[in-house]
């Protein structure tokens, strides 16, 4: 196909402003990349999850209880809406893996040996299903197997109900129930120290004295059934058997985590690219306005030749669209490779049989549409203004620009301003929209950079508050079941234990009106040494002697305020139900938490000095010895060494934040560079005559550079505080969006974060300024003066 003369002009004109066109296209590409990255990751993750759930028949309702006889299963099956169910024995155990200093833990989940589960079927990656009458055969979760370098046939020593048993891995499996698996009470997953092991149901029941009974049930619903009604019915059936409250799929930990990730992907996958595209459309408008001013005589010629306004308008609009199309092409490719990196990261935390990154066509179409809309909008104003000029007027040179003194030039300021300063100020004041667009763009770059760094700060804050202010112990020990205070005294005598504090937590259902939540109430001694209640700033809160203290998140979830009465239904022991006053609210970083005075909690439970665990301060030199002892202590269900937990926490966050800071740095750099470069090129094009005249008059290169660079510096300088504010608000928005019932992020911006983001942007601005300055050195004085304006 032959290109029309007008289209050739288009291509050659674009080529002649290729630097600027490329800079704008890169900003567009950044927006498209963010969009493609988030939306495609969302699509890949949600589609993978949907298919996985369907294939493995992931359950809709989950419940755990103390113990119920098998015959109850028939009652559950009769609940309207239940299509299939699987009763199980599930229990946490300690593993004695030699390579690890700290004891590892596992969740043992029963499976039938002679058939596949009707609900939550496993995906067997390698090996085979367990065989009947081989009680020590297990299937192990893939993450755990990989992290510990285990092979089929390897034996895993596990302390089951106080007895050490060597379990043989016959298969490596994944379950839709444990796409995301985390050790209870920890903040980040650790595949080395926590795994899921599936074991023959008869063998497991025997080990836990559960023969003929079960302590866990998963249910699949028939289409259209209400999970709320099934949850309520199930709760009624399980109540006498120590039911701990059934939950719908939405609250199942693994599902909830993936869901939360998906919703974040979706919200940022729209907001951020929109801002990028708005910046791009602004600078496109500014660039085109200038380019079209230079094209005035050509527009006049085209009109004289008989081209109509629509044809000319469309011709120039295509400039914007071509730049947009280049941006889409680069952005889709860039977004796809960044998306692959994110999916690789997800593959570490989320276990799917196969999670692959794909870019759906609709995402590309969406990105293209958004880009063309924004590029079109950016170009449109500039094009309409240029085309509207009557041809006879377009043929005449543009009127000399009208400058005025700016309001800043008071006699006092003027004295210090100098000629260069005055020129800079007046030039900026003459194009307020242009200056505003540049400031908006650079500010956004500052904000993007800041967001990445804010999360590092927030994490440090979270660690400081959670690990050093709230929980000051070195080791946390949880017992398999409530024990008397003698157990704590026994622990106190173990090697390396310097100080110890008993811990009592009680599983409850908190109710206020029709709202309810399941959680554990912690008993706090009158003068706590280790576990304290602290607010989000790490300030300790004094516990009132009576009533219950709730986290602000929990109060919000229940819709209550200070002084209100809540109902506590205890889900263990004698299962008392009490109405208790809310005597304190704490704005903390944890999700749902509740605290009571330890003595008051014992009274509520009608019990003596019962403990569920202990907090210990230890002599770190003795840590390996203590760890080895704890591994072999039957009453201990799990232990958490702060050092190991923290190390893991930092590792995970380093990987996560490393990637997001890298992405943000990349994008902030692209924007800052693109905006400043564009502003510099426009200034240069408008003022090359003026600057050349100054050179002819005897100004040095340095002096005329100062005029051009001064303008860029001023724009950048003004953008920094604006961007800081913008970044803070954006960070608040992001932190707010991950404010969940599991944990919250503190919003904290350190001086370092501000300084680094400012420096980063100044650096990017400097680089693009210097590139343009090199053009200034090559200014052809004679030629510039000869060109007709």
């Amino acid at each position: 196909m032959r290109l029309s003369a007008l289209n050739r002009k288009l291509l050659r004109d674009l080529w002649s402003m290729k630097g600027q066109a490329f800079a704008i296209a890169m900003v567009v590409a950044a927006g498209v990349a963010v969009y493609v990255m988030y939306q495609s990751t969302f699509a890949s993750l949600s589609e993978t999850r949907r298919a996985y759930y369907e294939r493995q028949r992931f359950g809709h309702v989950f419940a755990s209880l103390k113990r119920a006889p098998q015959r109850i299963a028939a009652d559950i099956a009769n609940i309207p809406g239940v299509s299939a169910l699987e009763t199980r024995v599930v229990s946490g155990v300690t593993l004695d893996l030699e390579e690890l200093d700290e004891p590892a833990g596992a969740q043992l989940v029963s499976i039938p040996a002679n058939r596949r589960p009707r609900v939550n079927d496993l995906f067997v990656r390698r090996g085979r299903w367990i065989e009947p009458n081989r009680p020590d055969e297990i299937l192990a979760s893939e993450g755990f197997v990989i992290a510990n370098g285990l092979e089929l046939g390897d034996r895993v020593p596990a302390v089951i109900n106080g007895r050490l048993r060597r379990l043989t891995i016959v298969g490596v499996a994944l379950s839709p129930e444990y796409v995301y698996s985390i050790r209870p009470g920890e903040l980040v997953p650790d595949d080395r120290r926590y795994g899921i092991l599936w074991m023959d149901e008869k063998a497991l029941a025997a080990a836990f004295d559960m023969e003929g009974g079960f302590n866990d049930v998963t249910i699949a619903l028939s289409p259209g059934a209400s999970s709320e009604e099934v949850v309520a019915a199930l709760d009624r059936i399980l109540e006498p058997y120590g039911g701990r409250g059934a939950i719908p799929r939405a609250l199942q930990l693994s599902h909830w985590t993936v869901e939360n990730e998906l919703s974040q992907l979706q919200s940022f996958g729209f907001l951020l690219p929109m801002i990028f595209l708005i910046v791009a459309s602004f600078i496109l408008n500014v660039a085109l306005t200038r380019a079209l001013a230079l094209q005035r005589p050509q527009i006049a010629s085209l009109k004289a030749l008989g081209y109509g306004n629509v044809a000319i308008g469309w011709h120039y609009l295509k400039w914007g669209l071509v730049i947009g199309a280049i941006g889409v092409a680069i952005g889709v490719a860039g977004g796809a490779s960044l998306g692959t990196m994110i999916i690789d990261l997800y593959n570490v935390y989320f276990r799917f049989p196969e999670l692959r990154f794909t870019v759906p066509l609709r995402v590309v179409v969406g990105a293209t549409t958004l880009t063309f809309a924004s590029a079109g909008a950016g170009a449109f104003g500039a094009v309409v203004r240029a085309v509207r000029i009557p041809p006879a007027e377009a043929m005449r040179p543009e009127l000399p620009a009208r400058y005025r003194r700016t309001f800043l030039e008071t006699p006092l300021v003027s004295r210090y301003l100098g000629t260069a300063g005055r020129m800079v100020l007046r030039n900026l004041a003459r194009h307020p929209f242009r200056a505003g667009a540049s400031i908006f763009g650079i500010s956004f770059a500052v904000a993007i950079l800041m967001i990445g760094l804010v999360f590092t700060d927030a994490t440090d804050r979270l660690i400081q508050t959670q690990f050093w202010e709230a929980e000051r112990q070195d080791v946390t020990v949880n017992f398999t079941e409530p024990r008397s205070s003698a157990a704590v005294h026994a622990l106190a005598r173990l090697p390396g234990v310097v100080a110890i504090e008993p811990q009592r937590t009680v599983a409850v259902r908190v109710r206020a009106g029709h709202r309810e939540r399941y959680l554990a109430v912690s008993g706090i001694p009158p003068a706590p040494r280790f576990k304290r209640i602290v607010d989000r700033n790490g300030e300790p809160i004094r516990l009132p002697p009576g009533g219950v203290v709730l986290s602000q998140t929990l109060a919000n979830a229940l819709g209550i305020s200070l002084g209100d009465i809540v109902t506590l239904e205890v889900l263990e022991g004698r299962r008392p139900t009490r109405r208790v006053e809310v005597t304190g609210l704490v704005d903390d970083l944890l999700g749902l938490s509740a605290y009571m005075d330890l003595a008051a909690l014992h009274r509520l439970m009608q019990e003596g000095d019962v403990t569920t665990g202990a907090l210990m301060l230890i002599d770190t030199a003795q840590e390996p010895k203590l760890s080895a002892t704890l591994k072999e202590t039957p009453a201990v269900a799990g232990t958490g060494f702060k050092r190991a937990v923290l190390r893991r926490f930092r590792e995970v966050l380093a990987a996560n934040l490393g990637l997001s800071i890298f992405i943000n740095l990349l994008f902030a750099g692209v924007i800052a560079f693109g905006v400043v470069y564009n502003a510099a090129r426009i200034s240069l094009s408008e003022r090359s005559r003026e600057l050349a005249s100054l050179r002819v008059l005897g100004f040095t290169r340095a002096e005329i550079s100062l005029i051009l660079m001064g303008e860029l510096a001023l724009l950048t300088l003004v953008s920094l505080p604006v961007g800081g504010t913008f970044g803070y608000s954006l960070a608040a928005l992001m932190v707010g969006s991950i404010d969940s019932e599991v944990y919250r992020f503190p919003l904290y911006v350190s001086r370092q974060a501000v300084a680094w983001s400012f420096l980063g942007i100044i650096g990017a601005a400097l680089v693009s300024g210097l590139i343009v300055r090199r053009k200034l050195d090559g200014l052809d004085l004679i030629a510039v003066l000869k060109i007709r304006e």
């Binding site: 002009k9 004289a304 008989g306 044809a311 009557p390 043929m395």
Partner: protein, 235 residues
């Protein structure tokens, strides 16, 4: 000959240049005949270009009337004027106004692509003796050559009228003569009515009709029978 192509009555144009009011044309009445070579003479600021722009449909008068054949240009809306320019008018400007990013032949194609029955761009360039330089960009051509490309671009659509605003204004004598020869060739070979604005009185010697303007008014109209060839002009 002698059918009037343009009939102009009481034409006036007032510009507002910032805070100043400029009377570019004051009550101009004039007629231009088909096939004529017309020279508009006058010092700068006399209103020549304004008159040419209005005749060419690039500008509209403040008052008065311009009839092109039977249609009233002063009543036409913008799209009618665009169509008028596209079908009937060829422009040649003092500074050529070529599109710098297009080659000679592409600049001509710009017009032939939107005309009903144009000549081939190469033929138009041959007529102005530029068939050797088809693929040169404006920056690679001399001033005279650029102006001849502009003429080729203007006549390629076979316009009824060719309007030239100081076509030799930016050129030296010898190149100016080559350009004028090209204009004369177009006028005689294609019979295109040609209107040339100039402040160079010598060019008047090659015209059928000479119109003098001063201060926005027509001061003299002279019909000539003795036409000189461009190379015979006395600058």
């Amino acid at each position: 000959m002698s059918e009037p192509l343009f009939q102009i009555r009481d034409l006036a144009k007032v510009y507002r240049m910032g805070e100043v009011e400029v009377h570019a044309l004051r009550q101009v009445t004039l007629s231009l005949d088909e096939g004529q070579f017309v020279v508009l003479l006058g010092p700068s600021g006399s209103g020549k270009s304004t008159l040419l722009n209005i005749i060419g449909g690039l500008d509209v008068p403040t008052s008065g009337q311009v009839l092109y054949r039977d249609s009233d240009l002063t009543q036409a809306d913008e799209s009618t004027l665009t169509a008028y320019r596209r079908e009937h008018v060829g422009f040649v400007f003092q500074f050529y106004n070529l599109i710098p990013s297009l080659t000679a032949v592409e600049n001509v194609a710009l017009v032939t692509e939107i005309s009903a029955s144009p000549m081939a761009p190469e033929d138009a360039l041959r007529l102005v003796k530029l068939d050797e330089r088809l693929d040169h960009f404006p920056a690679q051509l001399s001033g005279g050559e650029q102006q001849r490309v502009a003429i080729a671009r203007a006549i390629a659509k076979r316009p009824s009228v060719l309007l030239c605003d100081e076509p030799t204004g930016a050129l030296d004598i010898s190149t100016g003569i080559v350009v004028l020869e090209a204009l004369q060739t177009v006028n005689t070979e294609l019979g295109t009515t040609t209107v040339v604005i100039t402040h160079n009185a010598a060019i008047a010697s090659m015209a059928d009709r000479v119109v003098r303007l001063a201060d926005g008014r027509v001061t003299m109209v002279e019909d000539r029978t003795q036409k000189l060839a461009p190379q015979e002009l006395n600058w």
